[in-house]
């Protein structure tokens, strides 16, 4: 692997950039692997990288039905934070945030992690109580998250409208300074390049069509559009398509897949310094390095794999953005797109073993999977390597839907009384 650096860039420039090698080879499937990851998104590629890097399992294939990073990895609003309420969630997401820090150097690939701060707005008394509860829990969990008055919030994010006359006035905000954004494509490419350098096969245009199990029911390999591939360890990290893959192993899952839209404005000079989220008004926004305002919209109400959302969702999202940030009303929407988000009954992920021996799963991240990319990859790798979950992902098992030990962050945010 050619090491990336200002020097290599300079050296290659002198030869007209003619001799840059492939960042990762376009591998063809081998008959068998020690481990297979289904799904070439950030989570799956990360899992492959950590399997090779931390657990010495290098004979690994990542199977991607399209092009790597083409699913939710390349379709999200790249928000990174860990200020979750419950201990389980806080530990899970903070594990990821710690890995984000320094990931560029570890991968020798600039994934442009920008610690711009993530600010969550409180618009009513109930929001205040809820965010205070988060802040207090985060503080005792060692997760940074601080309370800002409306004036402090505006100082941190000048475009914010804090007029008390607003339909949803800002009563304060919770700020996690370590939160921010990263360049989504680079995360997938960086992991792919680093994993390939350790011997991992990145196999694109290879859709899984079946899961083969032995007499005892354990996994022995996967059928694909490019032939049968044997492996006794298969990790499924297929986001919106997880239910489909699990059916191949005879498993029904507590998942539903919904369209989620996002959009960007035309690029403008730096104007928006951080990430702002408002659950009450249903809008969140940041500005990319390229200058586009990156805006997350809501999910459509019905199950769909069409990656196609409705106009009224975008109408509501932009109305909300214009209420919180009235100076952007004349800005223009440049591009919209849709992803497929897999949602569990408690809106927390499922990350661990399945009832089928040798079959592991990482799914149910809903609208918030990007932020967890390095953590999810690392923990899926750990679970596959040891055939048992790490203590951080142990609570995110399938059994919780049977025994009732749900991790329901959304419910804990509760309803307005």
């Amino acid at each position: 692997m050619t090491r990336f650096s200002a020097f290599s860039l300079f050296a290659k420039a002198l030869s007209g950039h003619q001799n840059w090698p492939e960042q990762w080879p376009d591998a063809a499937p081998k008959p068998a692997y020690d481990a297979i990851i289904v799904g070439g998104g950030g989570h799956g590629l990360g899992a492959a990288y950590y399997l090779a890097k931390k657990y010495g399992i290098t004979n690994v294939a990542v199977l991607e039905k399209g092009w790597i990073g083409g699913g939710n990895t390349g379709r999200n609003t790249t928000i990174i934070r860990s200020n979750y309420l419950y201990d389980e969630s806080a530990h899970l997401y903070d594990h990821a945030v710690k890995l984000w820090d320094g990931l560029s150097q570890e991968l020798n690939y600039n994934i442009m992690f920008s610690k711009r701060g993530v600010m969550m707005l409180a618009h009513n008394v109930h929001d205040v109580q809820s965010l205070q509860r988060h802040i207090n829990a985060n503080r005792l969990n060692g997760v940074d998250n601080e309370w800002l008055t409306p004036e402090q919030a505006k100082a941190y994010c000048p475009p914010l409208n804090i007029s008390p006359d607003a339909r949803h006035p800002v009563l304060g905000a919770a700020l996690q300074r370590r939160g921010g954004t990263a360049r989504h494509d680079s995360v997938a490419w960086g992991y792919a390049r680093a994993a390939a350098a350790l011997g991992v096969d990145i196999i694109q245009n290879c859709a899984v069509t079946g899961i083969r199990r032995d007499a005892n029911g354990a996994v022995e390999g996967v059928e694909t559009t490019r032939g049968y591939i044997a492996s006794k360890r298969v990790g499924v990290s297929a986001a919106g398509n997880t239910s489909v893959i699990m059916h191949m192993a005879g498993l029904d899952f507590p998942l539903e897949s919904y369209p989620l839209q996002a959009l960007v404005s035309e690029p403008i000079k730096p104007t928006f310094p951080c990430v702002v989220m408002s659950n009450t008004v249903h809008a969140y926004m940041s500005q990319s390095d390229k200058g586009e305002l990156v805006i997350g919209a809501g999910t459509d109400q019905y199950v769909s794999y069409s990656q196609r959302g409705a106009l009224h969702i975008v109408e509501h999202t932009l109305a909300a953005i214009c209420e919180i940030f009235p100076i952007y009303r004349r800005m223009r929407m440049l591009r919209t797109w849709g992803g497929i988000v897999d949602v569990t009954p408690d809106r927390s992920p499922i990350l661990g073993k399945t009832p089928v021996k040798g079959l592991y799963v990482n799914c149910g991240w809903g609208t918030g999977g990007f932020k967890a990319t390095p953590g999810a990859g690392d923990l899926l790798a750990y679970t596959m390597a040891k055939d048992e979950p790490h203590y951080i992902n142990a609570p995110f098992n399938l059994d919780r839907f049977r025994n009732g030990r749900l991790i329901d962050e959304a419910a804990a945010a509760a309803v307005a009384h």
Partner: protein, 953 residues
């Protein structure tokens, strides 16, 4: 000719001069000019700077596909708009436009240093560096990158303009009013179909506007369509998105072209449902890729024709054409006819149709076949071009001040693709054209690949004797993506066109690849040595062109953003200085401060008033559901945790509602009015949710039950009259109800009249005091309230708000669902075992309460908390630990759900959810807050009048 304005021709009104400003300089154009044509007429070639290399750029096109000429328009405070295309801005007197992305000036831009460093900034360079030293990323590199990136400046003040929106329905929607679209409209005009014909330009005609021979036809057609009652014509209207089931989003621009901003919406969002859609969006000409093809003065040949024939402007005085397609030749002939000076025609093909040769010969135009441009001289404008004879590799120089490109055509299949129609590749056109539709839609004219522009050769880029890796041959002008960037991406293993697009950013600029996608595909195709269809095509997504946030938000602005629900008594509260809070969609009075009273003082006063004499509270927002029918009691028995069948008419009962997962979702006091009629109440925020949940069970699980539900939330205004003197105030006002304790006990309901108005009078209490809740028809709520205020004056009746209500109920240990419960709490956790019918075989949520984790020890349970220092009021949301000295991360065993100062008790009180809390009474717990750790003892939740003696009076 004077300057670049032709003596004659064009559709501009030469009798109406228009003065406008660009970068502070004043220019004159004519009514009908676009900013682009008007500046060209004044000899302006330089319009902007490119995104990455800050290279000087001029016009490439004449329409909405223009990638280079992005400008800002400033119409005064809050009316600054960046990134507009000069080709789409209509000039008006006083227009103030500015170039972008340059400093200090358009001619002299320091950012152009990037151009010199270009060789070190290939595609994806940012992935490969800026990583050391690590700390520099946040502090140095990223801020620098951000400063360089971006195009125009951001608006800085709130936009004072308003926007409108509407739905519309039609039988036939025609998008694009060029000849094909107009023909489609004429063809259906005589049917009784409702037709909408829309076009993004300011007048109908599309391509015909640049072809004077069609103007008589155009005039006749437009007149016919305008006169047809069933045809709606929308100009300046862009169909930006094609959604499910023939639902099209379009934005109409209403005032930006007017010199004076009138009192009307700036833009209007059209949400159109059409039975049938005809797409007639035409085709976009392709540039040709060669070194220097981005020099100002190098533009599409069709654009030059538009400027000459539609606007009467010559783009140069000696035009040269670089063609790979016949259409360019026809444009040159038209330009010559319009009186524009022609220098030469260069065509990469070895031979062309003899008719073209003869016409060129007739017009005396020098022709160079099998030649290609290998160099463009001039930085801020074309001075001359070097062309290479591919036969003998001889290079010669041709003097010209404008080089036109004719690289063939790309059908505009954007909306077709939004609608999920499939595409097929046509080698002869070198383009994708519509194949199978997914909706009731057809493509006609150019966007279907059906045009009469002649034929052409499909090339990726012009051959050149120079080292390809050293020349900047642009594919995406705005994003500065060159052919070698695309080749580099392929070299680095990016094979999918989506990868190539994302790695190079080709086609991701504000023109969304209208002029660059196909050239990018062709170059990737040869680099990969695969046919184009095997590489795929990046998917088109809405919007077709960028659309204003405000337009998409429509009329949802300010007060119209979302309804704020108010009660009939709200106006009284407002008039009496109430401070409000927002709860769900409602606005509720939080407290009623007297002059120089803060919230604390007001709430204390309100609470004491209720305990000592009389308080009055607007409870109208409580949800209400009328449950009627022979099976009403049976239905409630199945929904609620507690039994309902034995409840006597005239009596009330507290109802606790779970979701099927066993967790508390709502509660409220409900009354039985008759054997088959109940009056339910729900929480304010839960009203709609509860009704929907009950309808769900009723309709889909128990359709056999004869019972019906009606929301009566807004039928009644509800006034809570609470305090020892409540009965005394009511007595003189109420008719037909014996208010005595014996006749009308706690938790009962009576029907009668108050102040002459029929009422459902509840004797209930959320305060622990003698209390009544007076339900009257909403319209009379305020009037009855005022009567009660008058009658209660002798007892110093005190209006109280939600804050005092919270304190009063907390003193009594009454929970608020959503505050003391959080969607993970069972009745047992909340200490409401008494509200669960043990003998009932089933009710919604019962089974879930038997799940292993729900019966396991250590669940969070609701308890009271009394701080050791009675003056400390804990923060709601504060976390609770058993051992304050443990290291972080600490083990948290619970959190504070409600916490208040109780003036009545002269100390603070709190409720908390604590793991195993029900067995901890008396234990000391710790609440670590920044700077100080508080201690508190676990208690019961009823802090005041535990025996409930004050109720039984």
């Amino acid at each position: 000719m004077t300057g670049f304005r032709l003596e004659t021709g064009g559709r501009v009104d030469r009798s109406q001069p228009v003065r406008f400003h660009f970068d502070g300089k004043t220019f004159q154009g004519f009514a009908g000019d676009s900013l682009a044509s008007a500046l060209l007429a004044n000899g302006v070639m330089l319009f902007g700077r490119s995104f990455k290399y800050h290279r000087p750029r001029g016009l490439v096109a004449a329409g909405s596909e223009e990638p280079n000429a992005l400008i800002s328009v400033n119409r005064g405070l809050g009316r600054f708009t960046p990134n507009l295309r000069a080709t789409g801005v209509e000039i008006h007197n006083g227009l103030k436009a500015f170039s972008q992305n340059r400093w200090p000036s358009l001619e002299m831009d320091f950012g152009a240093i990037n151009d010199r460093l270009g060789m070190f900034l290939p595609a994806g360079f940012y992935n490969k560096t800026f990583m050391w030293p690590r700390s520099f990323w946040d502090k140095v590199y990223e801020p620098a990158i951000r400063k360089m990136a971006g195009l125009g400046d951001a608006p800085t003040a709130e936009d004072p303009d308003v926007y409108a929106s509407t739905y519309a329905h039609c039988d036939l929607l025609i998008i694009g009013a060029g000849p094909a679209g107009i023909d489609a409209a004429l063809g259906s005009m005589d049917s009784n179909k409702r037709i909408i014909l829309m076009d993004e330009q300011d007048e109908l005609g599309g391509g015909a506007l640049a072809d004077p021979s069609l103007w008589p036809w155009l005039e006749r057609s437009v007149k016919a369509l305008s006169d047809a009652p069933n045809v709606t014509i929308l100009t300046r209207t862009t169909a930006f998105g094609y959604y499910h089931d023939n639902f099209i989003g379009a934005v109409q621009r209403l005032i930006d072209h007017l010199p004076e901003i009138e009192d009307m919406p700036r833009e209007k969002l059209w949400r159109i449902r059409a039975d049938e859609v005809v797409l007639a969006q035409g085709a976009i000409e392709r540039p040709i890729v060669f070194g220097g093809n981005d020099t100002p003065g190098v533009m599409l040949s069709s654009a030059a024709k538009v400027y000459a024939n539609r606007f009467g402007v010559a783009v140069g005085k000696a035009l040269a054409l670089m063609a790979s397609h016949d259409s360019g030749w026809h444009d040159m002939f038209a330009l010559a006819k319009a009186g524009v000076g022609i220098s030469a025609i260069i065509d990469v093909r070895e031979s062309v149709d003899s008719a073209l040769m003869h016409e060129a010969d007739r017009l005396g135009i020098t022709v160079y076949l099998n030649h290609g441009v290998v160099g463009v001289n001039g930085r801020h404008g074309v001075r001359s071009v070097d062309i290479c004879d591919y036969g003998n590799q001889q290079v010669r120089r041709i003097d010209t001040d404008a080089l036109l490109m004719a690289g063939g055509w790309t059908p505009s299949v954007h909306l077709w693709s939004h609608s999920k129609g499939s595409l097929k590749w046509r080698d002869d056109l070198g383009a994708y054209v519509p194949d199978q539709p997914n909706e009731n839609v057809v493509c006609v004219g150019g966007c279907s690949g059906d045009w009469d522009f002649g034929k052409g050769a499909i090339i990726d880029m012009l051959p050149t004797p120079k080292d390809q890796s050293r020349i900047k041959a642009f594919v995406d002008f705005q994003n500065d993506v060159t052919a070698k960037d695309i080749k580099l991406a392929v070299r680095e293993g990016f094979r999918s066109i989506e990868h190539i697009k994302r790695y190079t950013t080709n086609g991701m600029a504000t023109d969304q690849g209208k002029t660059s996608n196909l050239n990018g595909l062709q170059i990737a195709s040869s680099a990969l040595n695969q046919p184009v269809p095997d590489i795929g095509l990046t998917s088109f997504r809405p919007p077709y062109t960028p659309q204003t946030f405000g337009a998409l938000a429509g009329h949802a602005k300010g007060a119209l953003f979302q309804p704020t629900r108010t009660t009939n008594i709200d106006s009284w509260a407002q008039a009496h200085g109430a401070v409000f809070e927002l709860v769900a969609q409602w606005r509720r009075a939080r407290y009623f401060p007297k002059p120089n009273e803060n919230m604390h003082a007001a709430v204390n006063r309100e609470c004491i008033a209720v305990r000592s004499s009389l308080g009055i509270f607007d409870a109208s927002t409580l949800g209400k559901i009328e449950v009627v029918g022979p099976d009403a009691a049976e239905f409630l028995n199945r929904m609620y945790t507690n039994p309902w069948k034995a409840l006597e008419p005239g009596r009330c009962r507290y109802g606790l509602l779970l979701k099927e997962d066993g967790f508390i979702t709502d509660d409220g006091v409900s009354a039985r009015l008759a054997h088959d009629r109940f009056h339910l109440t729900t929480t304010t925020g839960g009203a709609a949710r509860v009704l929907n949940m009950m309808e769900d069970y009723l309709q889909t699980e128990w359709p056999d039950l004869d019972v019906w539900l009606t929301s009566t939330t807004e039928q009644y205004a509800v006034i809570a009259l609470q305090g020892p003197n409540a009965r005394k105030v009511l007595e003189p006002l109420v008719e037909g109800i014996d208010l005595s304790a014996e006749a009308f006990p706690h938790m009962a309901i009576r029907e009668g009249r108050i102040c002459g108005i029929e009422t459902r009078l509840f004797r209930v209490s959320f305060t622990g005091e003698l209390g009544f809740e007076i339900n009257v028809p909403t319209a009379y709520g305020r009037a009855v309230w005022e009567q009660l205020m008058a009658q209660g004056a002798q007892y110093d009746i005190t209006p109280y708000g939600t804050e005092a209500m919270h304190v009063l109920r907390a003193e009594k240990g009454f929970i608020i669902v959503g505050q003391d419960t959080d969607g993970t709490i069972t009745p047992f956790d909340a200490g409401l075992d008494w509200a669960v019918g043990k003998k009932k075989p089933d009710f919604v949520g019962k089974r879930s309460m038997a799940r292993p984790d729900i019966v396991a020890p250590g669940r969070k349970q609701l308890v009271g908390l009394l701080t050791d220092d009675p003056h400390i009021v804990l923060q709601e949301g504060a976390q609770i630990v058993a051992d304050p000295n443990q290291p972080i991360p600490m083990t948290m065993i619970g959190h504070v759900t409600s916490s208040y100062w109780s003036e009545t008790l002269g100390r603070s009180i709190a409720m908390a959810l604590v793991a195993g809390g029900h067995d901890m009474t008396g234990d000391t717990l710790h609440i670590p807050m920044p700077g100080k750790t508080h201690t508190a003892k676990v208690s019961g939740v009823v802090f005041y009048d535990p025996k409930g003696a004050r109720l039984n009076v």
